[in-house]
């Protein structure tokens, strides 16, 4: 199978170097080739798994439970200013 690695990498927001893309292309083809095995299985009328167990999602009262921890949670950020995350300019 031919996979456009650069296109997939762009969707994944990963900038691959040309040599990385060249190395990955045959590997991905070989992995997807193995995965094509799935087409041998007759899945007519079979429901896809949505959850490993047949259980209802738990519910909780709709109340605020978390204290404000903005400073602690922003501490690992590469750049913040006045409690806001700083990123390169988006709008010209």
């Amino acid at each position: 199978m031919d996979i456009d690695v650069k296109k997939i990498a762009n969707l994944s927001r990963i900038r691959l170097t040309d040599s990385e893309a060249k190395e990955l292309a045959p590997q991905l083809s070989s992995i997807m080739g193995y995965i094509d095995k799935l087409s041998e299985v007759n899945t007519d009328g079979v429901s896809p798994t949505a959850h490993p167990h047949d259980v209802a999602m738990p519910q909780r009262p709709d109340v605020v439970t978390n204290p404000s921890r903005r400073d602690a949670l922003q501490q690992p950020a590469p750049r913040t200013e006045s409690g806001l995350y700083v990123v390169p300019k988006v709008l010209e």
């Binding site: 997939i8 927001r13 900038r15 997807m32 041998e40 896809p48 738990p58 690992p76 390169p88």
Partner: protein, 489 residues
């Protein structure tokens, strides 16, 4: 002395024969002596370890001991822990310190455990040999030319080499059971939903489950009993999960009346013949203990790896989108714009295997391919679950080899990702079906440990614990430890 179970240490602490500080110091000394060679730990803060041990001794002096009072436990680098870095062994989390503890870490602390340090792992738990770690691989103490398995390789090495009596791992496709098998330990992956995933760095959320890696079945039960239970912070942690007395479940001494399923798809051409022989011998032992071995079939087994390598990378590509260089993690120098910042930071931060999986998952989820891959894989997953349901109408538990081969040489499978993926051929179906699975030592092949895997219906870990305890009691494989590190083979 270092190759003791948690229960043995607990008995000595209770009898006043030792203190938590002495126990902690013994393992810190072991780590100082052997970690440079083995690379099992990626972070250790001896002062913090001793402070926890002192606090535990002080607590014991004033109160009744808590369930894990003073017991040292190492933690895979995938669990968020305060006091030090949490990296998931990835460069993208360079410098990251978690602002909170994972739910299971809070539970261990509240039970009096002493957390020893963070253990090596495959980057983001993506690997079966620990070789994708940003900190380099770690070595199997039974033969240091070999890998210890993965992704919880560092936890396996730390326990197997006597650097800690127990450790936590996580298991998405076999990452607790396979390294436990390859290093001669007990490793338990509980039923999906038994243990909260909050604060455990996500790989594939419908498959990930935390669990213990220990020297004995009872130790695995003890830790799981503390780790498990509903947590409102993880919507998939089940609130009314069937429960039982975990330690009592380990009192099994025979297997009278137990029906053990032996699936023909797990005894196949191409597997290591010595591994097959050891597992066959283990099943003979079970028969002597009163079990009946029933030949069964799990017909969709051969599609489990293919389904897994659609589902797990798809979920990973979504989960790992959070590494955007905005809220945490590595940011590239001088980004030209936002796009450049995302794409370059992620290229620099992620290792090769992680990129491979993100790309595989993105491809499988991309427009025009979703039905053929993701939806198809989820349907095959349903069939795999049904295979188990039908089998459990005939048998109580299923027994298989954990891995088709013993530990392989470092570098042997790194060139071909697909060969590496096939290492997990006997563990993956259990994750897809959300079932509990346990690996325990059952012999040696080429002087390397072999694992016996037990599988039970959802929420019936007690059946696994009873069978594995009876087997453990009747054999002495769990008492072996690597001579090179002061053990007794």
């Amino acid at each position: 002395m270092p190759f003791r179970s948690l229960s043995d240490i607990q008995t000595q602490l209770e009898a006043g024969q030792t203190t938590a500080v002495e126990v902690a110091q013994l393992y810190l000394d072991r780590i100082a002596a052997h970690n440079d060679d083995l690379n099992a730990f990626v972070f250790i803060d001896p002062e913090h370890v001793l402070a926890q041990a002192e606090a535990s001794d002080a607590y014991r002096a004033e109160h009744a001991a808590r369930p894990l009072e003073g017991l040292p436990i190492a933690v895979k680098d995938i669990f968020c822990t305060q006091n030090g870095p949490t990296r998931c062994c990835s460069n993208i989390l360079e410098g990251f310190e978690a602002p909170y503890d994972a739910h299971v870490i809070t539970r261990l602390k509240e039970a009096g455990a002493v957390l020893v340090g963070k253990t090596n792992m495959d980057e983001f738990a993506m690997g079966s040999s620990n070789e994708t770690s940003a900190f380099g691989g770690c070595k199997n103490p039974w033969n240091t030319d070999c890998i210890p398995g993965g992704s919880s390789g560092g936890s396996a090495v730390a326990v197997a080499a006597g650097l800690t009596p127990a450790a936590l791992g996580t298991d998405t496709g076999g990452s607790i059971r396979q390294p436990a098998a390859l290093t001669g330990l007990v490793g338990l992956k509980p039923t999906y939903g038994r243990i909260s995933r909050r604060g455990i760095i996500a790989f594939a959320s419908s498959l990930d489950q935390a669990g213990p890696m220990t020297r004995t079945v009872k130790d695995a039960a003890l830790l799981t009993s503390i780790m498990s239970g509903h947590d409102a912070g993880d919507a998939t942690s089940v609130s009314d999960a069937p429960n039982f007395d975990w330690l009592k479940a380990c009192e099994g001494r025979d297997m009278k009346g137990l029906r053990i399923g032996k699936p023909k798809e797990y005894f196949i051409d191409g597997m290591d013949e010595e591994v097959r022989a050891q597992v066959e011998a283990a099943l003979k032992k079970c028969e002597e203990l009163g079990a009946e071995i029933v030949d069964i079939s799990l017909p969709h087994t051969e599609y489990a790896v293919a389904a897994y390598y659609v589902i797990a990378p798809s979920e990973a590509s979504t989960n790992l989108s959070r590494y955007d260089a905005v809220r945490f993690g590595h940011r590239c120098d001088n980004p030209e714009d936002l796009e450049d910042m995302y794409a370059r930071s992620r290229d620099e931060g992620f290792g090769e295997e992680v990129k491979r999986r993100i790309l595989t998952g993105t491809f499988a989820l991309s427009s025009g391919y979703y039905d053929a891959y993701y939806l198809k894989a989820q349907k095959v997953r349903t069939l795999i679950s049904q295979d188990f349901k039908e089998a459990f109408e005939q048998v109580d538990v299923i027994a298989t080899p954990t891995s088709p081969v013993p530990a392989f040489k470092t570098g042997e499978k790194t060139d071909d990702p697909l060969t590496m993926y096939l290492s997990d051929i006997f563990t993956i179906a259990v994750n897809l079906a959300g079932l509990p699975g346990l690996s325990q030592p059952c012999g040696f092949a080429d002087n390397l440990p072999v694992g016996l895997q037990w599988i039970a219906p959802a929420w019936q870990e007690d059946k696994i614990l009873a069978a594995a305890s009876a087997y453990e009691n009747a054999t002495d494989w769990h008492t072996k430890s690597p001579v090179k590190f002061g053990g007794a083979a």
